[in-house]
Amino acid sequence: MTDHIPDTVENAAATPDKDQPYHLLGLKPDEYQQIGDILGRRPTSGELAMYSVMWSEHCSYKSSKVHLRQFGQKVSPEMTKHLMVGMGENAGVVDIGEGWAVTFKIESHNHPSYIEPFQGAATGVGGIVRDIISMGARPVAVMDALRFGAIDHPDTSRVVNGVVSGISFYGNCLGLPNIGGETWFDSVYQANPLVNALAVGALRHEDLHLANAKGVGNLVVLFGARTGGDGIGGASILASDTFAEGGPTKRPAVQVGDPFAEKVLIECCLELFAGGCVEGIQDLGAAGISCATSELASNGDGGMHITLDNVLLRDPTLTAEEILMSESQERMMAVIRPDKLDAFLAVTTKWDVEASVLGEVTDSGRLVIEWKGKTIVDVDPRTVAIDGPVYNRPMAYPAWLDALQADSPAKFARATDGAELKSQFLTVLGSPNEADTDWITNQYDYYVMGNTALHTPDGAGMIRIDEESGLGVALATDANGRYCQLDPYVGAQLALVESYRNVASSGATPLAVSDCLNFGSPENPEVMWQFARAVEGLADGCMELGIPVTGGNVSFYNQTGDVPIHPTPVVAVLGSIDNVARRLPSGWQDEGENLYLLGVTGDELGGSAWAGAVHDHLGGVPPHVDFTAEKELAGLLGAAAHEGIVTCAVDLGTGGFIRAVADGVLRFGVGARVWIDEIVSRDGVDTTAALFSETQARALVSVAREDDVKFRGLCDGRNVPVLRVGVTDRRSGELEVQGLFSIELEQLRSVHRGTLPAQFGPVVGG
């Protein structure tokens, strides 16, 4: 390849009719035409590489943009109160008080994780962590939302083992506590697993950095790992294409991660920030140098001059086009003042991080890239990074949806005796989506940094941010593809309220949302309809709850053949808490406490864990959403945690009341006696609904006897319906549902914990 002659701007102007392989790079004929119109000539091969990768679905959001605008439009003053940086930057930034801010974001790495599960998942963690560093923050925790195929499918173990060890390897080596997430198994994800990685970082207000190239004459520096041939075309090929059967293997397009390089890069960046060495900064992820230069220039003074020969290469045979497209990991691009160069290089040298000056900021309005003395790129950077194509794709109401919604689980006979209900309960608790995930989470370090206040299996993870005051943040991620398949509008809102409630149940106050929207092909009108409805539901829901979407990611083309995944909008909610010492775990620890159910119960079993696990059924309509009730419940939980009058809170979600009780007893191994007759009589539901219904806006709390009066007063004052439904019982060693059944905790635990090890191997230490 050393004799590769780069296509220059001059050459492009002189040879207008040259055949260019735009279709192999994922561009449609009209998109190629549009590039020609913008430039007034055909693009050079380098420009074509840049446009193709930046105009890919993954980088340009061309199919989703028209819908995502709602997140910016449906906003109230209440929602922006805590927002320091909103959507559009690398990650949103939220003010949590005391001069502290946090930044968080969730992003997908789905397609690479199917091809090469270990590296795909590892680099997913690496990429999201660099987004957080780019804002000037120290990363403080990670989480992951995972979707795999059927647990007993022969290929699932390969993907699960690869993905989990990839996350474990990369996250553990970075020294970031993994504090939570969720894992589902469903055959719709068989050849298209979802790996959504979340990272959160903390910074002082004054340390905020933005990705822009301002200040004419400022230097553009590339630093971190050298640029190699990995991931070339990854963004355009992998993220914008489906896995057609029998196609060529795409293994070489997956990037390879080195967490050691990233760890050193984190420390190096933080020292650069502290030393005031950096004006603007951007991480290199999808589309590599193409993305970083065009985005930095677009967001700054509009121009940049780059000498591509200065890029430090791992492989000297790379062509200019390959260098522009390479997705080599662990790289950052900074804009620095010339007088700070020595200080900058002193820090990078200390950390053994290589750096090279690529060029400088100009006010020409052009991004000009030179290679071997010739101009190979000369474009308006906004046409690459911002003003790409926008599609208002056709939508169609799914032809099958009415029949699916009409197929309600009401058709199933309800159990009448305790033995049958017990058996159903154990079936639900041991089903793959409800089972304990410690086989996975035991491979993650949640201790590192010494600030983890809550972690799996608690419903939310919690991290202390300020060691003096105890100020902290809580985070939860949720998505229920089954609900979304039944109704994407309501399903997206259910993901939102579930995540919101998980954060509130930890004692924290929900503040902001990040989302990762995983869908099938946008070229399928039914999928596009699902997407539009989900975005609308989420935007409306955020408006109702008064918390903004601060950023996120869209992943399309999640399907195998013609079958799209269930719509899976993963919603991450972040909350703050004055002092993490007031946190609430998802289970009780003490003897003789009263258990209270907050909220009312309806007969809502459509899309439920009960319908899925007991009847292998998906149909009907999902639970309804009541935002007022959710806000009142969250307000009550926050107040009760603040005053220290509840000792634990378990959110009611999939599996309903009895699943929450099981969580409560298993968290610390303290038994309980519960009764449901008052739920049945007050709410007019039957036993099955009382146990398994997934009605929202409910939580189970434990209250020490001395705080009983105060607690009931709080519920009355805040208008939250409350019923005493049980007592904790340390001595019995069992869970008793009065009048129906009882079960030893040991048996409960073995049912709950046995499912994943039966497929993937034993948990160390049993």
Binding site: F260, K263, D352, Y444, M449, G450, N451, V764
Partner: protein, 231 residues
Amino acid sequence: MRVGVITFPGSLDDRDALRAIRLAGGDAVSLWHGDHDLHGVDAIVLPGGFSYGDYLRCGAIAAHSPIMSDVVDAANKGMPVLGICNGFQVLVEAHLLAGGLIRNDHGTFVRRDQKLRVENVDTPWTSGYTQGQEITIPLKNGEGGFIADDETLRQLEGDGLVAFRYLNVNPNGSLNDIAGLRNARGNVVGLMPHPEHAVEPGFGPDTPAAMSSGTDGLAMFQSVLRATVLS
């Protein structure tokens, strides 16, 4: 009492170790792998992590970093040195402790609250425990399987150089359930589990009394502070 914590590129639990020293009442001092300067500390902690990416073998490259020659000198003169996890691996690679550490027998990284028995309290890092005391501190490693040839193993056992032993569960296939060692002089101690993650109520392992309330690791740092006062 100044206790130094060395940061290597890829160290992860260095801040945790510094915090543990402060909570125990000591002056925590950051040391840099590339310096030949121990900043006048009275004791040294080599923290957990993946120094130099664990390239070659865990701890192998760190054992040859500039500051380690000073650490070896100081250790040979009797300065208390503690290696935690990757730090233990570095001490083994630097031949300050015997044996070797290999990939866990089950092949995966494991994080768990691990019960240990303190087997030897005659060191500046363990004097705050009672002989045979059972403690629970976090364990988190991928390559924590302790190995040694038969003769070395016999010698370690015969000379009472096993400092900590895994109880109930051997989490990584370590021979003789060995979790930690001391040297003959007693000033150098290394262990795979992490005492610095069990020093502050609210952030340690769960105990029957309360969640995350375990502080069984604190005595290790208090021990050395007391020991350096006495010496």
